[in-house]
């Protein structure tokens, strides 16, 4: 990996927030992961995290599943953790849906201990970000249901997906229909 200039660019449509649709796959449904970038041939900083048109090869009949979250409730925190000279990425994706019902409680029950790969988009982005990779799946770190006492209070189901070591990688497409 080489050191490149970062000169930046002024994006006039820049804003924070994530898109509401999150794509979630069972780690064990993925037969082949997209190849990681070749660290020897990168010519820009982006080349070290851009998987571009690489694909997930899913087991027959499996796919990424949609989770429709609530606008301005999903959030990403990526930090560099570890001792000097050995920093790793730690990624925490908060996914939140306003409401609490049997569909959401069932979702938490079914997936709270599942090994996952999760894809999501920054608001207005063309590519998906993925968390979880071969050998290092993402997992639910925390979550739950909050129902406030007041009628005007909060009612939300949320869970935090954590992945470790890898940076968030960027990929062009995610299959939300069954592999054949």
């Amino acid at each position: 990996m080489d050191l490149f200039d970062y000169t930046g660019q002024n994006y006039l449509e820049e804003s924070a927030a994530l898109e509401t649709e999150v794509c979630i796959a069972d780690y064990f449904d993925i037969e082949t992961f997209p190849a990681l970038p070749d660290l020897d041939t990168g010519t820009t900083n982006a080349d070290y995290v851009d998987l571009a048109a690489a694909t997930f090869t899913m087991a027959t009949g499996t796919k990424f599943h949609k989770f429709s979250a609530t606008l301005e409730r999903n959030a990403l925190s990526t930090t560099l953790e570890g001792p000097r000279g050995a920093k790793a990425f730690m990624n925490m994706l908060t996914i939140a849906r306003s409401g609490a019902d049997k569909e959401l409680v069932g979702f938490l029950r079914a997936n709270r201990n599942r090994k996952l790969v999760v894809a999501f988009k920054f608001l207005g982005a063309a590519q998906y970000c993925i968390l979880g990779y071969m050998g290092l799946p993402a997992e639910v770190d925390s979550g739950g249901i909050e129902v406030g006492a007041e009628i005007t209070g909060e009612k939300v189901t949320n869970f935090v997906v954590r992945s470790i070591f890898h940076a968030p990688y960027f990929i062009d497409e995610v299959p939300l229909t069954e592999a054949v």
Binding site: D172, P175, E178
Partner: protein, 68 residues
């Protein structure tokens, strides 16, 4: 990804998945419901799940030689 399903009167081929929703640069696009304009945009962008079908029918040997 080797299995292929033809869509849009055989003009395009879906690769490796059932024709259905794919997360793309345009958002979630359902390959079973798209029109040719959307298919063309996806192919132009280098979609891994959609390609243009090759024209059917064999070229004559003379014609192939002309092209090469």
């Amino acid at each position: 990804m080797s299995k292929v399903t033809k869509i849009l009167d055989g003009k395009y081929e879906v690769l490796g998945v059932k024709p259905g929703p794919i997360g793309t640069f345009m958002g979630i696009v359902d390959l079973s419901k798209i029109n040719e304009a959307t298919a063309e945009r996806l192919v132009a962008r280098g979609s891994s799940y959609l390609r243009k079908a090759k024209p059917s029918g064999k070229k004559s040997k003379d014609k192939e030689e002309e092209i090469s």
